[in-house]
């Protein structure tokens, strides 16, 4: 089974975010693969292993630093990559512009499915999967937590999360599938995997070379930090019962929620 996995490099979740103009300050950021994209990489590798055939192609948009995350995915077991190394395009890209460039990079490839995370954990937009499907003219299933591909690779049965439950869907392939937590447990790259990854091919492109001229359709005008929360009061009392009575009273009289 041939798959394409789109991945985004994002600040690690431990990162303390500082604002710089209409973006975040670049200092002190540890860059990692967005966690939902890691599930996508893992699922693609598992499909290849299960079918015992095919290859996994990573596609990523971003500046030079992104190559480290691409190499990580290659070390996990992906086979090759397309790096749209275009910092100028990336800096302005909104989800629509990102989907445009990913679609252009994917169009020439041979694949049975495109995997990616349900959202990137930096901008949290969650739009690229559906937009990519639309641009590629493929069906889309978002928030996938279980996937079974038919032996002929012509269709798949997928389970996705909905509010208060799950829905099981039949989807023809190729399709765009976005990964939700719970789909799998991503592996760590092995040492031999890391060594092999260094030799795997990475095709470097830019947005202009892919024929993409569409600019972003949304723009960030201003960025700010949320107002800092102040510590409130510690409820004291002789025992749990006394403290519980004090809290219940506060929820009743001050918060007025009971």
């Amino acid at each position: 089974m041939n798959t394409v996995v789109c991945l985004k490099q994002v600040p690690d979740t431990e990162t303390l975010i500082k604002v710089a103009g209409t973006t975040i300050a670049a200092e002190g950021i540890k860059w990692v693969i967005s966690s939902f994209d890691e599930y996508a990489v893992e699922e693609a590798i598992r499909m290849k292993e299960k079918m015992n055939a095919g290859k996994v192609t990573i596609v990523s948009l971003g500046p030079d630093r992104v190559i480290e995350s691409i190499r990580t995915a290659l070390a996990m077991g992906a086979d090759e990559a397309v790096h749209v190394n275009d910092g100028a395009y990336y800096d302005k890209a909104d989800p629509y512009a990102t989907a445009q460039v990913l679609a252009a990079a994917i169009k020439g490839l041979t694949f049975d499915a495109v995997f990616l995370g349900k959202q990137a954990i930096d901008d949290d937009c969650g739009q690229v999967p559906a937009m990519l499907g639309e641009l590629l003219g493929l069906p889309v299933v978002t928030q996938v937590i279980k996937l079974d591909v038919a032996a002929d690779k012509k269709s798949a049965t997928v389970t996705r999360e909905i509010e208060g439950g799950q829905v099981v869907l039949d989807v023809p392939l190729p399709a765009v599938l976005s990964a939700q937590k719970g789909l799998n447990e991503p592996r760590y790259a092995s040492l031999p995997g890391i060594m092999k990854a260094k030799k795997k091919p990475v095709d470097v492109k830019n947005a202009g070379g892919l024929g993409v001229s569409t600019g972003p359709m949304t723009v960030i005008k201003e960025m700010s930090l949320p107002p800092a929360r102040q510590a409130g009061k510690i409820i004291t009392g002789d025992d749990a019962k006394a403290k519980a009575a004090a809290l219940a009273k506060a929820l009743h009289e001050e918060v007025k929620i009971i």
Partner: protein, 322 residues
């Protein structure tokens, strides 16, 4: 001036409250407010939108809209959008809205702004406020596209009653069935009647301090005391330990929530968790470690063993409620 078109979601035969919230907000912002309600049974409930500010209500009803599949709903909505020619389209950023909005925007060849917590108007432009990095930062975003597609987080705006003309028009849409290739095989709805965490007004959440899956029963009992708008949540540590399913996870790789009351039991308050619940109106933290970082953000802190405290709290709330 071009008006606003709203996508109203129907679930279990009811209009989701997020639709009322965005409809009344759109009315407040000005211009004609049209609402498109799609779903099986939509016709029966559509008139409710009038008292939240809907001037025109387009109803798309039929058995083919019983279960949501994006292609069918996008096709139907786009036909209504072509009729209305709105300058702004609002959706709720519910689980379904998050799937629907970008697909619909792409079909209209425009961009979208997702999961906003506030919107204001500058001329014909909507400026939307949205969290990024799971709430560690906020961005003010403007759309250059026409129409501007914006999804708004449930609970963020609140709804208010504001009268609209409420003219109802039933729309017969023609679906291109050949394009609807994703088929629903089964829907498994959990027996719970609890609201989704993103829409709950009260969340009782448990972390590593819960020590095991069996102890969540007392958090469920506590949540039940607050009524049908309350639910339970969990920290990443509890989810990764397998005590609760991922759908309960609050935080950067789980759900971002903003309830009126968030009770954190046995949660230390890692930066990723705080990002996901930091905009809760009132935070109560229960932890036996007085140094737990969550106490620096909590409105009410209780330093105690949760296994003693939570049952005591349940008793005390029962007393107040009589």
């Amino acid at each position: 001036m071009p008006g606003t078109l709203i996508y109203a979601e129907v679930q279990k035969g009811e209009i989701k409250k997020g639709a009322f919230e965005i409809t009344s907000k759109a009315k407040e912002l000005g211009g004609e407010v049209s609402v498109c309600v799609i779903g099986k049974g939509a016709e029966a409930v559509a008139p409710q939108l009038a008292k939240f500010g809907a001037d025109k209500i387009y109803v798309v009803d039929g058995p083919e809209f019983e279960n949501y599949v994006p292609e069918a709903f996008v096709q139907a909505f786009v036909q209504v959008a072509q009729k209305v020619q709105p300058g702004v389209i609002f959706c709720s950023a519910s689980a379904q809205g998050k799937d629907f909005a970008p697909a619909m925007a792409a079909r209209l060849n425009v961009g979208a702004i997702s999961d906003c917590v506030d919107v204001k108007k500058e001329g014909d432009k909507i400026i939307a406020k949205r969290p990024m990095y799971a709430g560690k930062a906020y961005a003010m975003v403007e759309s250059m596209s026409n129409p501007q597609v914006i999804s708004v987080r449930p609970n963020a705006l609140g709804s208010k009653e504001i009268a609209g003309a409420g003219a109802i028009e039933k729309v017969a849409v023609s679906l291109d069935a050949a394009k609807i290739t994703v088929k629903v095989k089964a829907v498994e709805v959990a027996s719970t009647t609890e609201p989704d965490q993103t829409e709950a007004e009260i969340i009782v959440s448990g972390g590593r301090g819960m020590k095991g899956p069996e102890n969540y029963k007392m958090l469920e009992d506590l949540a039940k005391l607050f009524g049908p708008t309350a639910t339970t949540g969990a920290s990443r540590a509890a989810v990764d330990a397998g005590w609760r399913s991922h759908s309960y996870q609050v935080g950067q790789t789980g759900k971002t929530v903003s309830p009126n009351l968030y009770i954190a039991a046995g949660i230390s308050g890692a930066i990723q968790h705080m990002a996901g619940m930091g905009t809760s109106k009132v935070i109560v933290a229960i932890n036996k470690d007085a140094e737990a970082p969550i106490f620096t953000k909590a409105d009410y802190g209780i330093v105690d063993d949760l296994f003693n405290f939570v049952p005591a709290l349940i008793d005390e709330i029962k007393k107040i409620k009589g």
